[in-house]
């Protein structure tokens, strides 16, 4: 919880500093007609639907007579499907595409073509790694600070020292890799975490069965393992289930990023005592405001520009520290869930 406070403090400082530098936050004028596309990694996942709810809320609030489309590929066709939808959006003359990128840099040519056709590309959740073909990235949290949050949860679960392993999604997920890199960085540089040893990183492809089997393989491979850290909602659930099924919860704990409604039972029975997440509705809401501002020309997308995103307050476009030369808007912070607050959040 201390982490949570410092984060709030840090973001307060950030907002304070930027509003000090910029005289006035731009207030977006509603009612302008612009068609936009919200493009998730693929359809059928709860968090993306929550982002859509947030975007629809902002769409109604801004009185946009245009259309907000929620379209995405089917799960088995994610990469090719995203590129196809991006290409189609450009030819349809959409004002903006809001993309949670699952295609790595393979999306760049189609995104650039869309930009050339006058479509703004606003990424959210997962950015384009090289930053090419992207106007701005709406970051759910500071990617650098995720490492610190995960390290803090590990510290409290392991009680100061022990072995942990990471169970990620796919090896080419840009957000996952950035978070793991930041975790490694924090563990290596901060003496507070010197007792924690990160022994391995494996990939569960965001599928229950692969993640489940990988979690068990980790336990078999490292007899002294104390914690599996899974920064993905599918992985954290599958690992918790695997530990519970094999009666290993006393020996190996699970933590990472998860949805309260899906993690409730594992948090209450002690298999996954602590995990974190941010609000995907807010993320969709903020992303919509950003994309609307840019597509209607009210925002230029320059670094230092500040605007008001409805109920969420003021945000500033800044350089992305993780991807030099690229721009981001930082949402933050996130909530750490324990047995004390998980029940309230799950309902």
């Amino acid at each position: 919880m201390k982490m949570f406070k410092t984060l709030c403090f840090a973001s307060a400082l950030l907002v304070g500093a930027s509003t000090g530098a910029m005289a006035q936050a731009i207030s977006l004028e509603g009612g302008q007609d612009v068609d936009m596309v919200l493009l998730p990694k693929f359809l059928g996942i709860l968090v993306f639907d929550q982002a859509n709810e947030g975007a629809q809320e902002a769409h109604a609030e801004l009185n946009n007579p245009g259309e907000l489309l929620f379209v995405g590929p089917t799960p088995e066709n994610s990469v090719a499907g995203q590129i196809e939808i991006m290409t189609t959006s450009a030819t349809q003359g959409q004002g903006a595409v809001m993309l949670s990128n699952n295609a790595g840099d393979q999306i760049v040519p189609s995104a650039k073509a869309a930009q050339a056709a006058g479509t703004k590309i606003v990424t959210w959740d997962s950015p384009i790694p090289s930053g090419e073909g992207e106007d701005v990235f709406v970051a759910q949290v500071d990617f650098g600070s995720i490492g610190e949050v995960m390290a803090d949860m590990a510290l409290s679960i392991l009680g100061g020292e022990g072995q942990m392993a990471v169970l990620s999604a796919t090896p080419d997920a840009a957000n996952q890799n950035a978070w793991i890199a930041s975790l490694k960085e924090v563990l290596a540089t901060n003496a507070k975490y010197s007792g924690i040893e990160l022994v391995d990183t494996v990939y569960g492809d965001d599928q229950s069965e692969v993640s489940y089997n990988r979690a068990l393989a980790l336990v078999d491979k490292y007899p002294d393992l104390g914690l599996i850290m899974s920064p993905t909602t599918v992985g954290i659930q599958a690992s918790s289930k695997a530990m519970q099924d094999e009666g290993l919860c006393d020996q190996v704990k699970v933590s990472g990023l998860g949805l309260p409604s899906e993690m409730l039972s594992y948090t209450l029975n002690g298999c996954a005592p602590e995990f974190a997440l941010w609000d995907f509705r807010d993320l969709g809401y903020l992303t919509y405001y950003t994309a609307y501002g840019m597509a209607t020309g009210q925002l230029s997308g320059e670094i230092g520009e500040t605007f008001t995103a409805g109920r969420m307050g003021d945000y500033t476009i800044e350089e992305d520290p993780g991807r030099p030369g690229s721009k981001r808007i930082l949402m933050g912070p996130f909530t750490v869930y324990t047995s004390e607050n998980v029940e309230a959040a799950a309902n």
């Binding site: 996942i45 090896p171 599928q207 078999d220 099924d245």
Partner: protein, 362 residues
């Protein structure tokens, strides 16, 4: 012994060859991975293979008839979700009814494939490639972006796969694996002994001849797809019970894994020959290699897929060479026996047969 050897069918020989490859792989990894050979390994592989064993069995039925089912993973995913949402809305539903529901839903999907392949005469690879995407999209629609979580499921269902039936030290025979094993054995003996089931082989090895022999080839192909669908539905039920958390990606990629298991298990991809037991061992091989590679320090995450592919190729090659050897050995033995018999005859009628020592030496 020699007598026994020549009486073993080529199918049995193939299963023996596969077992040798399986043991070789286990031996190899036991020299590479610390703490490898123990009851835990058996428990891991047996629990995890229970689902793929059912899918590979269904896939084998289809491949036997010269077809392929690429939609089988999507069927598993859909039935897992549909079964999960049914039981979470009716928590008091009886277990046999739930299993029946899963199999009927799966069989309905299989019937659609079967009609298009057998009666509309569209190639199976095209039909099931399309239905793979269709069934998956149906799941995305049906799920409405919700997931099934294990907390919504009744305890008997979640506990079923891991219930220990028998225990020898660390080795546990769990209910999920036992159920899958029973199904595999039932299908195996039906195919081997039950006359109507022999039609799958007849249609696969020569459709024209089968028609002329009075077998309804269309109905047979249709039946293969329906059975495969029902088995995929059963696998969906097992998937639900084991993982509890079902999202729209459930069963993604199972179609290719099941084809790999069947082919590795000696099922001829051109139809007509192969056994369900073989496909079962093939499924064990794929699972074993996959699990062991994660634990092998030597292989990084990024080269694992490549190593898995190479090992599968190597196993298939080793199996093919071993098979040829065994069949050759047997043919030689038969030749030798025949020659000896001729010699006996020759002695009595006092006619000399020329010696052919060169042949046996090679």
């Amino acid at each position: 012994m020699g007598h026994l050897f020549s009486r073993i069918s080529p199918q049995t020989l193939r299963i023996l060859a596969l077992l040798v490859v399986l043991l070789a792989i286990i031996f190899f990894f036991s020299t590479q991975v610390p703490n490898y050979l123990n009851g835990r390994l058996f428990n891991r592989i047996s629990s995890s293979v229970a689902i793929m064993a059912l899918i590979a069995t269904g896939q084998t039925l289809v491949i036997l008839t010269r077809n392929i089912d690429l939609s089988i993973g999507s069927i598993v995913g859909f039935t897992a979700f549909a079964t999960g949402s049914l039981i979470s809305q009716n928590p008091d539903m009886a277990a046999p009814l739930l299993v029946l529901y899963a199999m009927v839903v799966g069989a309905a999907f299989g019937a659609l494939n079967g009609v298009l392949v057998a009666y509309v005469k569209i190639p199976a690879i095209i039909v099931t490639l399309a239905t793979m995407a269709l069934f998956r999209s149906a799941l995305v629609e049906f799920s409405n972006a919700k997931s099934i979580t294990s907390s919504e499921l009744p305890l008997w269902l979640v506990n079923f796969p891991n219930t220990v039936l028998l225990k020898f030290g660390q080795f546990q025979l769990r209910a999920g694996f036992a159920a899958a094993l029973i199904v595999v054995l039932l299908v195996h003996f039906a195919l081997a002994r039950f006359r109507p089931a022999r039609r799958f082989y007849a249609v696969g090895s020569n459709p024209e001849a089968a028609e002329m022999a009075g077998i309804n080839a269309k109905a047979t192909v249709f039946a293969a797809f329906v059975f495969a669908g029902a088995l995929a539905g059963l696998a969906g039920f097992m998937f639900l019970a084991r993982f509890g958390n079902i999202t729209v990606v459930a069963g993604l990629g199972f179609e290719l894994k099941s084809v790999a298991a069947a082919v590795l298990g000696g099922v001829n991809i051109f139809g007509g020959s192969g056994t369900v037991i073989g496909a079962f061992i093939g499924a064990i091989l794929v699972d074993l290699i996959d699990t062991s590679l994660v634990r092998w320090e030597f292989v990084s995450e990024f080269s694992r897929e490549a190593v898995l592919g190479a090992l599968i190729l190597l196993s298939v090659t080793a199996d093919a060479v071993l098979m040829r050897r065994l069949i050759g050995l047997r043919a030689n033995r038969e030749k030798k026996l025949a020659r000896a018999a001729i010699k006996e005859k020759g002695k009595t009628s006092e006619v000399n047969t020329p010696k052919q020592t060169g042949e046996t030496a090679t």
